[in-house]
C-alpha cells in the first residue's frame, strides 16, 4: 500500500499528461498554464513556509555539540563541530549542506548474537547515495539553465563540458543524469529493502523519489532515445522564461509528460518533507554557536515564574536551621 499508492500516483500523473496532450490537445494548459501555476505555488509556498518558521521563536541556545568546547587555550577545541562564533557556524553549516558531514560519520550497529556483542561500524552508503543524489540533481538542474538562457553563460558551458567529459557516443552522455538515476534508485530500494526503513517510511517518502525517478527517466528518454528536437524545446522554454509563452512547435508527448511531472514536483515541494532543503538552514541545533555561557542568549517570550523564595524556605525550616547553627536572615 505504502509503495503502491505513490506509484499509482506517479503513473496517474503520466496518464493525465498523456490524455491531456495526446487526446484532448491541451498543449497550452500543460505547456504553459500548469508550469506557471506550479512555479508560483512553489515560490509562494516556500516563502510562506520559511516565513512561518521564521515567526517561531528560538528561545534557547541549543546547538548539538559534537566536539570539544572552547575553554582553555591549551585544550584543542573542535571549531566546526562545536562552533563558538558565527563564522565557525557558517563553516559547520557549509560542511553540512555541501558535504553532508553528519551523515559522513554515520555508523551502523549490529548485534553478534553468539557473543552478545554490539558492533558499531562506519557506514557510508547513505552518505554516498545522498550526496550523489543531491549533487547530480543540482548539476542536472544547472545544466537545464541552458534551455532558458540566451546566450548561454560560459560558466554553464563549463559545467556541461565537464559533465560530458567522457564522450560516449552521440549525443554526449551526461554523467550526472546517470548518477541521478542510479542514486535515486538506490535510495528507493533502500527504503523498500531494509526492514526498519521500510517500516517507518510513509507514502510521502516514496512519492517524491518515484516522481524524481520518473522525471529523470523521461529526461533521459527524451535525450537519448526519442531525441526530442532540442531547438524547438529551447525556443519554447526561452519563451516561457521571458514571459512570452508560445506553442508553435510540436514538442512531443514525452516532453509534456516530463514537464508535467516537474510541475507536480514543484507544486508538491512546499507542502512536503522536501522543504528540508530550506529547513536545514534554520535548524537550531546546527546553526547556533555554543557560546551561551559566554554571551547571554535572549528568549523573546521569557516571563517571570512563581518561585519558592529563600525567605519562604527559611520560614519553613527556621527552627531546624537554628538547631544546627546555620546563619539566618531573621532570628
Amino acid at each position: 500500500m505504502k509503495i503502491l499508492l505513490p506509484f499509482l500516483g506517479v503513473m496517474g500523473i503520466v496518464i493525465v499528461a498523456f490524455v491531456g496532450v495526446e487526446m484532448l490537445n491541451l498543449q497550452y494548459l500543460f505547456g504553459v498554464m500548469i508550469p506557471y501555476t506550479a512555479f508560483i505555488i512553489f515560490v509562494v509556498g516556500v516563502v510562506l513556509r520559511i516565513l512561518k518558521w521564521g515567526r517561531s521563536a528560538v528561545p534557547f541556545c541549543i546547538p548539538t555539540t559534537s566536539g570539544q568546547q572552547k575553554s582553555f587555550s591549551w585544550i584543542k577545541r573542535n571549531r566546526f563541530d562545536n562552533p563558538s562564533n558565527n563564522l565557525e557556524v557558517i563553516v559547520r553549516m557549509a560542511l553540512e549542506v555541501l558535504l553532508f558531514r553528519s551523515l559522513f560519520s554515520n555508523t551502523s550497529t549490529a548485534l553478534k548474537e553468539d557473543e552478545g556483542r554490539l558492533i558499531h561500524q562506519s557506514s557510508k552508503w547513505l552518505w554516498l547515495g545522498g550526496l550523489a543524489f543531491h549533487w547530480s540533481f543540482l548539476i542536472v538542474l544547472v545544466r537545464h539553465l541552458r534551455l532558458f538562457l540566451d546566450p548561454i553563460p560560459s560558466a554553464l558551458s563549463l559545467v556541461e563540458g565537464m559533465d560530458g567529459l567522457m564522450q560516449l557516443g552521440v549525443p554526449v552522455l551526461y554523467w550526472t543524469g546517470l548518477i541521478l538515476l542510479i542514486s535515486a534508485t538506490y535510495l528507493f530500494f533502500r527504503r523498500v529493502v531494509i526492514p526498519q526503513v521500510s517500516y517507518f517510511s510513509l507514502p510521502n517518502d516514496h512519492f517524491p523519489l518515484l516522481l524524481i525517478l520518473f522525471i529523470a527517466t523521461t529526461g533521459m528518454i527524451m535525450r537519448y532515445i526519442l531525441k526530442v528536437d532540442i531547438i524547438s524545446v529551447k525556443a519554447f522554454t526561452v519563451g516561457l522564461f521571458s514571459l512570452k509563452p508560445t506553442i508553435t512547435h510540436d514538442l512531443g508527448l514525452i516532453f509534456y509528460i516530463h514537464l508535467f511531472l516537474v510541475s507536480v514536483l514543484l507544486a508538491y515541494f512546499p507542502f512536503s518533507k522536501l522543504m528540508h532543503a530550506a529547513g536545514v538552514f534554520l535548524s537550531p541545533t546546527r546553526n547556533m554557536p555554543n557560546n551561551s555561557r559566554r554571551i547571554r542568549h535572549i528568549n523573546p517570550w521569557n516571563y517571570p515564574v512563581k518561585v519558592h523564595t529563600y525567605e519562604e524556605y527559611e520560614d519553613d525550616f527556621r527552627d531546624k536551621m537554628k538547631t544546627v547553627g546555620l546563619p539566618l536572615e531573621k532570628e
Binding site: T65, T109, Q196, S292, Y310
Partner: protein, 543 residues
C-alpha cells in the same frame, strides 16, 4: 527484569512487526515504564490535573477537553520553539538516527527508533496543523489524537532519556530530545507525568533539592563524610553553609550527598577545596544543581533553577562553581542564563589559585568542576601521586549532557590522565559525542522500570565489557551523579567487577594533602595497591 539473565536479555530482535505502526495500539509492558505522578507531587508545584490515577489502569482520569488542551498546547509550542516547528516538518525519514538510540538497540522496539518516536507526535501534528494531513489523512502520514495515541506518547516519551545521540547523526540536526521535551510538556498539561520525576520536582521546589534533604540533614550528611575523610587522611575539614561573603558558591547534585559511590565524589570536592583553602560555601537552599523540572516543562525547569542565582545574590558571592552532574550542566550551559540571568551581580570567574579567567563562563559566571580542576593541574597547583590509583584500571564514560549539550570532552580526560596511570578508552564509536547513554537519564532511574534501564544501558555496558575483556578495566569513571547511581546497577548486571567512580574521587585519591597521614586506603576504604601488593585488584574483582 531480575528473572532475565544477561545472556537472555541481550537476545534482541530488531525485525519490525508486519502490521503498520499506526494501526496497532500501545502494549505497555511491565518493567518498561514508571509509576504515574502522585496527586501530592503535582499539587505541590501547581501542575495541572492532580488526581489519583494509575498508568496500569485503563482510565487515566483525563479532563473532558483533553484533546483541546493538547492541541492548544501544541499550537502554542509551535510558535514558541522553532526547533519543534522545524523538526516536525523536515525529517526525511532517512533512518540515519534509527540505530543510534540505546533504547532501540536494547529493546528492538521499532518505536524506539528516534525517527519513529518523533513520528508518534508528528503524525498528530500533520493531521491538525498541515493542509496535506487534513486532506489526505493516513496517506500523508497523519492520524487522529486518540486516547490510544496519547498513551503511546506517554509510554515512548518516557522511554527516551533526552540523550541527543540521535541528533549527532541526523543530517538536519533533528534532536529527538527536543521533541521529547515538548511531548512531555504536552503530557504534563494533563497531569501525565511519572512520579520518579514529579516527586523530586516537588521536593526540589520546597526543600531545595531532589532528595528532599532538609537543611539540618544536609549538614549532617556532610558531617558524616567529613568524619570519613578524617579517618582516611587524618585531616579535619570544616566547610561552611549559607555563609555570606564567601567568594564562591558551590552547587552540586544532591545525589552526591546521599548514596555510594556519589558520596566518595563529594568527599573528593571537600578534600580538594580544603587543600586549596578555597573561600567557598555550600547552600542548603540552592542545594541542587540537577533539575528534574527540565524533564517536565521549560517553566518548571526555570522555577527550580532560579535558586542558584538567587542564592548567589543573597550570599554576595563572586561566582559559582558547579559539581559533577550531567543534566545539571546541560541546563546551566543552555538555559540558565537565558532563564534567570543576567547574573550581573556576579563577576567573571577567576580561579583564586591560578588566576585563570574563565572567559567561556563570562556570562553565566558558573564554572564546571572539571574545568576548574584541569586548570589547577595544568598549573601544577596540586601535589598528585597517581600511583595511589594503581589498583584501578580506568575507562571514562562521557555523560550525554556534558558531551552533546556542552562539549566538555577533554577536561575530564586531562584530569584522569594526571591522576591515574591506567586509563583506557572505550571504542571510538561509543565515546565523546557518540557516547551511549546510561539508559536511566531524564528522570528514568526508578526501580519499577528496571528492565527498560538495563536494556537501555546495554550498548554502554557492552563497550565497557569490551575494555574489561581487553584491558582488564575495573573502574568506570564519569562526571554525572545519575551515572554514578545508574551505571553501578548496570555494571553489576552486565559487567560484574567494574565499579563506578567520579573523576573528583579519582583526583582525591591521588591528592597529597598537606599534613595528611600516610594513606593506606582509598576513599572507599580499600587498600591502595602499594600497601598490599596488588591484592586490591583481586578483591575488587570478586565483588
Amino acid at each position: 527484569m531480575s528473572n532475565l539473565k544477561p545472556d537472555e536479555l541481550s537476545k534482541i530482535n530488531y525485525m519490525p512487526p508486519e502490521e503498520d505502526w499506526m494501526s496497532v495500539s500501545v502494549q505497555m509492558r511491565k518493567g518498561m515504564y514508571c509509576h504515574g505522578a502522585s496527586e501530592n507531587s503535582l499539587k505541590t508545584v501547581g501542575f495541572p490535573n492532580p488526581r489519583k490515577w494509575s498508568s496500569a489502569e485503563a482510565d487515566w482520569k483525563l479532563p473532558d477537553n483533553w484533546q483541546e488542551i493538547v492541541l492548544k498546547g501544541m499550537a502554542e509550542r509551535l510558535e514558541k520553539y522553532r526547533s519543534f516547528h522545524i523538526f516536525m516538518d523536515i525529517c526525511v525519514r532517512c533512518g540515519a538516527c534509527a540505530d543510534k538510540c540505546h533504547f532501540f538497540l536494547g529493546t528492538g522496539d521499532p518505536k524506539n527508533m528516534p525517527v519513529l518516536r518523533a513520528e508518534l507526535l508528528r503524525s498528530v501534528y500533520r493531521r491538525e496543523f498541515t493542509t496535506a494531513g487534513k486532506i489526505l489523512g493516513k496517506i500523508a502520514g497523519a492520524r487522529e489524537l486518540t486516547e490510544d495515541v496519547l498513551k503511546e506518547w506517554w509510554y515512548y516519551f518516557f522511554q527516551c532519556t533526552e540523550c541527543r545521540r540521535c541528533s549527532v547523526f541526523c543530517p538536519y540536526g533533528i534532536d529527538t530530545a527536543e521533541i521529547t521535551m515538548i511531548a512531555r510538556e504536552l503530557l504534563n498539561l494533563l497531569g501525565l507525568n511519572i512520579e520518579w520525576i514529579a516527586g523530586p520536582v516537588a521536593n526540589c521546589y520546597m526543600k531545595g533539592n531532589h532528595l528532599g534533604l532538609e537543611p539540618h540533614t544536609i549538614t549532617s550528611s556532610v558531617e558524616f563524610l567529613l568524619d570519613e575523610i578524617e579517618e582516611i587522611t587524618g585531616i579535619k575539614i570544616e566547610p561552611t553553609f549559607n555563609r555570606k561573603g564567601a567568594e564562591i558558591l558551590f552547587v552540586t547534585p544532591s545525589g552526591d550527598l546521599f548514596a555510594d559511590p556519589g558520596t566518595y565524589t563529594c568527599m573528593g570536592y571537600l578534600m580538594l577545596f580544603h587543600e586549596l583553602g578555597l573561600d567557598y560555601t555550600w547552600s542548603t537552599y540552592a542545594s541542587e544543581g540537577g533539575n528534574f523540572g527540565s524533564f517536565t516543562s521549560n517553566e518548571m525547569g526555570k522555577r527550580l533553577n532560579s535558586k542558584i542565582y538567587a542564592e548567589a545574590k543573597r550570599l554576595g558571592v563572586k561566582w559559582i562553581l558547579g559539581g559533577e552532574c550531567g543534566h545539571m550542566w546541560r541546563v546551566l550551559n543552555q538555559y540558565m542564563d537565558t532563564w534567570n540571568g543576567p547574573a550581573d551581580f556576579l563577576q567573571v570567574p577567576v580561579s583564586p589559585i591560578t588566576g585563570t579567567v574563565f572567559e567561556n563562563a563570562a556570562s553565566t559566571k558558573m564554572v564546571h568542576i572539571s574545568e576548574f580542576t584541569a586548570d589547577l593541574l595544568k598549573h601544577n597547583k596540586l601535589e598528585i601521586d597517581p600511583s595511589r590509583n594503581d589498583h584501578y584500571k580506568v575507562t571514562f564514560h562521557d555523560s550525554c549532557n556534558p558531551s552533546r549539550g556542552m562539549g566538555l570532552l577533554e577536561e575530564p580526560r586531562y584530569i584522569i590522565n594526571k591522576v591515574c596511570n591506567n586509563f583506557f578508552e572505550m571504542p571510538e564509536n561509543t565515546i565523546r559525542e557518540k557516547t551511549f547513554c546510561c539508559g536511566s537519564g531524564s528522570g528514568l532511574n526508578a526501580s519499577e522500570n528496571m528492565e527498560l534501564r538495563l536494556r537501555g544501558g546495554f550498548p554502554r555496558a557492552n563497550a565497557v565489557k569490551h575494555v574489561k575483556n581487553k584491558y582488564d578495566v575495573n573502574m568506570l569513571a564519569c562526571i554525572c551523579a545519575i551515572d554514578r547511581a545508574a551505571l553501578t546497577t548496570l555494571m553489576d548486571y552486565w559487567v560484574p567487577g567494574v565499579k563506578v567512580i567520579g573523576v573528583t574521587e579519582l583526583l582525591a585519591n591521588a591528592l597529597k594533602m598537606k599534613g595528611e597521614n600516610d594513606r593506606d586506603t582509598d576513599l572507599r576504604g580499600e587498600p591502595l595497591s602499594g600497601a598490599e601488593d596488588g591484592d586490591a585488584k583481586e578483591d575488587s574483582e570478586d565483588v
